[in-house]
């Protein structure tokens, strides 16, 4: 078998594997545009014969998807801003020095990274309600998400800072820059891409966050899209085409960002978690 033929064969198998793996995603989009009767047809049709494009408009109106997505956007942006502002400096210091304190700090940060949100929510909820923070539910969720995701961000961005040559910063210091100036004018611009990719990763996670929002936001007008989707799915629901349309509107922006930045996101992810 020639090499080119083998390549083609492998490529076909790979595309089939990817198609099988991504079938749930396809099923979401197909179900969304099916009619009520086509949805429950047996055998199910794998290609929509009578696509109902109007469903997106009607679900958008009836379920207030715009408001839910707006809340998700506010919560995710708030959490990411807080994480980037606080986490970048922390990652820089942890990358620049190598001593026992840095090791201890990194160890503590890695330990915080693993605490499950559904277990931390009990003390956070009780504590926040005692402090009165639950009167500002979205702020409370932003703070909780920031604490949950910052360790991951610090680990990723630290790897980026480690790849910035220290000599560049030293040269800037010799040239009369202050530490402050060298950090903002030399180191930060060089690490910009890594910080951006990590921030996007954190954003996508925060955009889908559920546990904290579900537990701390009681008022419907402040709930994000994940909580909205959860309340849409009753135990005996049969509106699956509407639910899938909602899910499609929720997930499509994230998928678009992912496909555009796929290569960078994959390399950013792998650099932090393992070496």
């Amino acid at each position: 078998m020639s090499l080119a033929l083998r390549d083609k064969f492998m490529l076909v198998v790979a595309v089939l594997l990817a198609a099988v793996y991504l079938f749930p995603l396809y099923w979401m989009y197909v179900t969304a545009i099916k009619t009520g009767s086509a949805m429950f047809a047996s055998p199910p049709s794998f290609w929509p014969s009578d696509p109902q494009w109007g469903i997106y408009g009607s679900v958008w109106e009836s379920r207030n998807v715009g408001r839910y997505l707006w809340n998700s956007l506010i919560i995710a942006s708030g959490a990411v801003s807080l994480i980037v502002i606080l986490g970048t400096g922390c990652a820089y210091v942890l990358a620049r020095y190598r001593n026992v304190w840095v090791d201890i700090g990194l160890f503590l940060i890695l330990m915080l990274q693993v605490l499950p949100a559904s277990l931390m929510i009990t003390p956070i909820f009780v504590g926040f309600s005692q402090l009165g923070l639950l009167d500002y539910p979205r702020v409370a969720v932003i703070l909780a998400i920031a604490a949950k995701s910052m360790p991951f961000f610090v680990v990723l961005v630290r790897a980026t800072f480690m790849s910035v040559p220290m000599e560049l910063e030293e040269a800037a210091l010799v040239d009369g820059n202050s530490r402050f100036g060298a950090f903002f004018h030399i180191v930060l611009p060089l690490a910009r891409n890594g910080i951006l990719v990590s921030a996007i990763l954190i954003f996508m996670q925060a955009f889908g966050e559920f546990v904290y929002s579900k537990s701390m936001i009681q008022a419907i007008e402040y709930q994000p899209a994940s909580v909205g989707l959860n309340s849409f799915m009753g135990p005996n629901t049969n509106e699956w085409n509407n639910i899938m349309a909602y899910a499609a509107m929720y997930v499509t922006p994230i998928l678009a960002i992912f496909v555009l930045l796929q290569r960078r996101i994959v390399s950013g992810l792998t650099s932090g978690a393992l070496k």
Partner: protein, 300 residues
């Protein structure tokens, strides 16, 4: 004062300032709740004492109550099944895919990256899609299983107590395959190629090369990935909320969902905190294994 300002702008104070604010934030938002959680697990907490710190201490009574509940051991058993089955499925399929893509062909890295789509999707959306796929009467999975002759009647994945836990396991395996595969690919690409060339010259076949080169070279990577899988599986909450909500009759309930359910459905915050403390101890043990196996990375 001037010296302090100068130090913050251009000296040790700059580093200390950068690192102390985030650490203080993390301590306030993650460290203190952790301590508070332990304190609450030794207290009597109800809706009336929720607003005060002065709650009566009850010693180990919350723990004793917890283990006298009839559902405790079944739920802990479910947690163990969920973790072991999820990791076994994710790891096996992920490893197989990683080995397949590792052979290298045009477009392999792009296609491999496409699998990571599942990782960026909101957990609730993944849960909603699988909820529909696994639906008893009209689910597409039952249709495929029926047509291929694997089952004769419909399986009621979500409402049959024998299958409800496995419904969530299936969805969680799907979710975890991608990250297992990507991280295993990173480990595979770090193995020097000349090892394989030498083995091939010596006449080792594919299986021998796998068992004598690939597996031993991947040992620390595999350890780290299984520990990471354990951590992620114990964090899985959204799929339970979206597919079975722990039901029917706790047959698909696991500890991390149960802790939330105790606090926010039954308003028993003391029990919720008690379950949390027990589970956090488990997660901590897993994370020590993880940190140890990636230690060379941590040290830089």
């Amino acid at each position: 004062m001037r010296r302090l300002l100068l130090s913050i702008r251009d000296g040790r104070g700059f580093d200390i300032g950068l690192v102390s604010v985030p650490l203080a934030f993390l301590f306030a938002m993650a460290g203190l709740p952790l301590i508070y959680n332990i304190v609450m697990s030794f207290q009597e907490v109800d809706m009336f004492s929720l607003g005060t710190f002065a709650r009566p201490f009850v010693g180990f009574r919350n723990y004793a109550t917890l283990f006298s509940l009839p559902e405790t051991w079944p739920i802990l058993g479910n947690t163990a099944i969920f973790v072991v089955a999820s990791i076994a499925g994710q790891f096996t399929i992920g490893f197989a895919l990683a080995l397949f893509f590792w052979t290298g062909f045009p477009g392999s890295s792009w296609l491999r990256g496409l699998f990571l789509v599942s990782w960026v999707m909101p957990g609730l959306v993944v849960g909603a899609i699988w909820n529909w796929i696994l639906s008893g009467d009209f689910g597409v999975l039952n249709y495929i299983l029926r047509e291929s002759g694997l089952v004769s009647g419909n399986i009621f994945w979500r409402s049959d107590p024998d299958f409800s836990l496995w419904a969530v396991v299936i969805a969680n395996i799907w979710l975890g395959i991608s990250f297992n595969m990507i991280l295993l690919s990173v480990g595979l690409s770090a193995i020097p190629q000349d090892l394989y060339e030498a083995a091939e010259l010596d006449g080792a076949n594919v299986m021998q090369r796998f068992y004598t080169i690939t597996l031993p070279m991947m040992r620390s990577t595999i350890g780290a990935i299984i520990a990471l899988g354990l951590i992620f599986t114990l964090q899985q909450f959204d799929l339970f909320a979206a597919i079975t909500a722990g039901g029917p009759n706790n047959s698909s309930n696991v500890a991390q969902y149960w802790a939330w359910d105790m606090s926010f459905r039954q308003y028993d915050f003391a029990q919720g905190a008690t379950i949390s403390v027990i589970m956090i101890v488990f997660v901590m043990i897993a994370s020590v294994v993880y940190v140890r196996s990636t230690r060379h990375e941590v040290r830089g």
